[in-house]
């Protein structure tokens, strides 16, 4: 089958850089130098643009002139078509850096009358190559020769000769081919061009299209084998080989504020880790966007670039809504620090959306990326794809040390701790916003479900939207339940009045005690006075008694004296007394 002789193995296969964003990473250096590469794909998969960008990049960046031999489009058409990628082909043609050669074959004008060969094509191509010293050649789409010229047997032999000849000329060539039924190309070109085969694909799933590229074969070289989504836009192709990012990224221990003081406190006082992925999930209207806006503004205040992917609201709407809670975003947009990218998730396919996001990120170089909300990526049953896409986004951002903040809407009825795409294990910090319902009123509560690498708070906080942003307050944790909102306020008021009552009671008791004390004291004083009075009385009585006794004794003596009794009177008296 393979008619190409195996070339002596080089130590390193020389490669020609394509200059196409991302392709050189996937192919580890570019296309095989001096060999033809087959690029195949369905109609509209971007083969011509791919080939053209290869030439233009070669001419402008690597000083390698190129020849574009077009079998389907005229020179004029090519120039117009390629202008949409921002390439000025006319100028390059005038500078003799690129030759456009349209080969027109009209089957009806041609009659085959015997043996022929394609020497005319060889000569023509050779002439173009020689005249500008081309190093790159594109044949787009050479298979149309089969419909233009009779006798496929001759054609096949001639094409084989052509590719051999191209190799001998040492030009790096791209041959495009239309995808066939069950084969890579309609005419089995892969049999002739077998050094490198790239397949472009354009698939539509759930009404959204995604372009993909895959290197099917690269003889003599390793290469990425995945399907890589790519974009075609005003800057040409971009392929972002994000599936190849591993988990070997370094992490930062720097912390960034969430923009909400008390939330920082809950996150062990410092906020999120830089470069981590934060998810806030909650039911509708719980204030997810407000938390995102706080982070955005606080990052802008530090002078960091913030890229805000708004999937459901227009930038104006977000800014207006945030203004109502006192978060001013417009000035940061004007200063160029905050950038909104607002497109619905259904705008293109998931992979294209991812590629677009990565492109925006690469261009804007933000330090904080906000994705609001990721749940809108889920359309139908593409949960798995969404998860894989978010995972790659997380990996990519971690690799670049960009903090990712995602919001996710939890639809009513489902378990709160279940995100729509089961991605809890992928994020580093997960804030949960939930409704707290009591007394016919809905309030918001926030808590941290997890936050890797920090001692975060396990407390639920009430989340209040004020006219100066988000405020977190303690909820009432009573014996029966957690209370928030007016129930909390009522409970607090109740407690306050109870406390007041209690205090008054104490005061009253204290006063009473005081009074009692005082009464007792006065009683004591009274008693003392009485006692003193009694004592004085008693003493007086005693004194009188003694006085009387003394006097009576004296009286006796005097009486005795007067009776002229002798001195020994006294014992007589004593005897008498006995």
């Amino acid at each position: 089958m393979k008619k190409n002789k195996i070339q002596p193995q080089h130590k390193v296969l020389p490669k020609t850089p394509t200059g196409i964003q991302g392709l050189d990473e996937v192919t580890e250096g570019g296309l095989p130098k001096g060999r033809p590469t087959l690029v195949c794909g369905n109609a509209g998969s971007g083969k011509t643009l791919f080939a053209m960008e290869f030439l233009v990049r070669g001419a402008t960046q690597y000083n390698e002139p190129g020849v574009f031999m077009a079998f389907e489009e005229t020179e004029k058409e090519l120039i117009t078509n390629i202008a949409s990628l921002g390439f000025d082909l006319k100028k390059l043609v005038a500078q003799k850096k690129i030759i456009l050669d349209h080969v027109h074959i009209e089957r009806s004008e041609i009659e085959e009358t015997g043996e022929y060969d394609l020497e005319g094509l060889f000569i023509r191509l050779n002439h173009s190559i020689e005249s500008i010293g081309a190093k790159r050649v594109v044949l787009d789409t050479i298979e149309s020769l089969f419909s233009g010229l009779p006798n496929p047997l001759i054609l096949r032999a001639e094409l084989r000769r052509l590719f051999r000849w191209l190799k001998e000329k040492g030009v790096t060539a791209i041959i495009t081919g239309e995808r066939g039924d069950g084969t890579l190309t309609r005419q089995g070109m892969e049999e002739y061009v077998s050094d490198c085969i790239i397949v472009l694909d354009h698939r539509v799933t759930e009404q959204a299209s995604t372009r993909r590229l895959r290197v099917v074969k690269y003889r003599g070289s390793t290469h990425g084998t995945n399907e890589y989504p790519f974009l075609i836009d005003e800057n040409g192709f971009s392929i972002l080989p994000i599936t190849s990012i591993g988990l070997a990224h370094t992490v930062s221990s720097e912390r960034i504020s969430s923009g909400i003081l008390r939330l920082d406190t809950m996150l062990s006082g410092k906020g999120y880790f830089r470069g981590s992925s934060v998810l806030v999930s909650g039911t509708a209207g719980t204030g997810k966007t407000s938390i995102a806006a706080h982070l955005a503004v606080s990052a802008c205040q530090r002078g960091e670039h913030v890229l805000y992917f708004a999937l459901e609201e227009s930038p104006d709407q977000i800014m207006r809504n945030m203004r109502s809670i006192g978060i001013e975003m417009e000035s940061w947009v004007k200063k160029g620090l905050l950038k909104f990218y607002s497109k619905r998730a259904t705008f293109f396919g998931l992979e294209s959306y991812l590629t677009t996001m990565l492109k925006e990120i690469n261009n804007f170089k933000p330090l904080v990326v906000i994705l609001d909300p990721i749940s809108s990526f889920i359309i139908g049953t593409n949960e798995f794809e969404t998860k894989s896409m978010i995972m790659r986004l997380i990996d990519f951002l971690k690799f670049k040390h960009i903090t990712l903040f995602m919001t996710s809407l939890t639809t009513g009825g489902t378990d709160l701790e279940h995100t729509e795409i089961n991605m809890s294990s992928m994020v580093d910090s997960w804030l949960l916003l939930r409704d707290l319902e009591f007394g016919s009123e809905r309030n918001r509560g926030i808590y941290i479900l997890k936050s890797r690498g920090m001692a975060h708070s396990n407390q639920i906080r009430e989340f209040i939207l004020t006219d100066h942003g988000v405020e977190l307050v303690d909820v009432y944790v009573g014996p029966e339940s957690v209370l928030a909102g007016s129930a909390r306020i009522a409970q607090e008021a109740k407690e306050k009045s109870e406390q007041l009552l209690h205090q008054q009671e104490i005061e009253r008791k204290r006063l009473e005690l005081d009074r009692k004390h005082k009464a007792l004291e006065s009683q004591i004083a009274l008693l003392q006075v009485e006692f003193e009075a009694e004592k004085a009385e008693a003493l007086k009585v005693i004194g009188l008694d003694e006085e009387r006794n003394k006097r009576s004794a004296q009286d006796k003596r005097e009486m005795a004296k007067s009776r002229k009794a002798d001195i020994n009177v006294k014992p007589t008296i004593i005897k008498k007394a006995k």
Partner: protein, 113 residues
């Protein structure tokens, strides 16, 4: 820039009965060097013309090896190719002209239906 080396041998034939409607036929034969195929083609072309046009024709032979830039104008890929420049419209036939019937059909020189 048409090469004349073959041409001198064939010009100046007397016009005779011509089936085609125009006065003079101008045929351009593109070859790539003097390969057996191109010589065969030339030989075949000449004999067919002699037979059918009896001198009222002119053959220009263009060797692409010598004049590669000429391949663009007539969109030549295969060689040998004969382009009927006149009478209009232009027609192209490729190959070494060994299939005479096809040559006649291709040049619209139907010998007799």
């Amino acid at each position: 820039m048409k090469t004349k080396e073959f041409k001198s041998k064939i010009s100046n034939h007397q016009p005779k009965t011509i089936k085609a409607e125009s006065d003079k036929w101008i045929l351009r034969l593109y070859v790539a060097g003097q390969t057996p195929k191109s010589l065969t083609a030339f030989r075949n072309l000449k004999s067919i013309c002699e037979e059918q046009l009896k001198g009222n024709y002119q053959i220009e032979v263009i060797d692409l090896v010598k004049n590669p830039h000429l391949s663009h104008d007539d969109q030549i890929l295969a060689v040998p190719t004969i382009v009927r420049k006149l009478p209009k419209p232009e027609r192209k036939i490729i190959g070494d002209l060994s299939d005479t019937e096809r040559v006649l059909a291709g040049l619209n020189l139907v010998p007799e239906s």
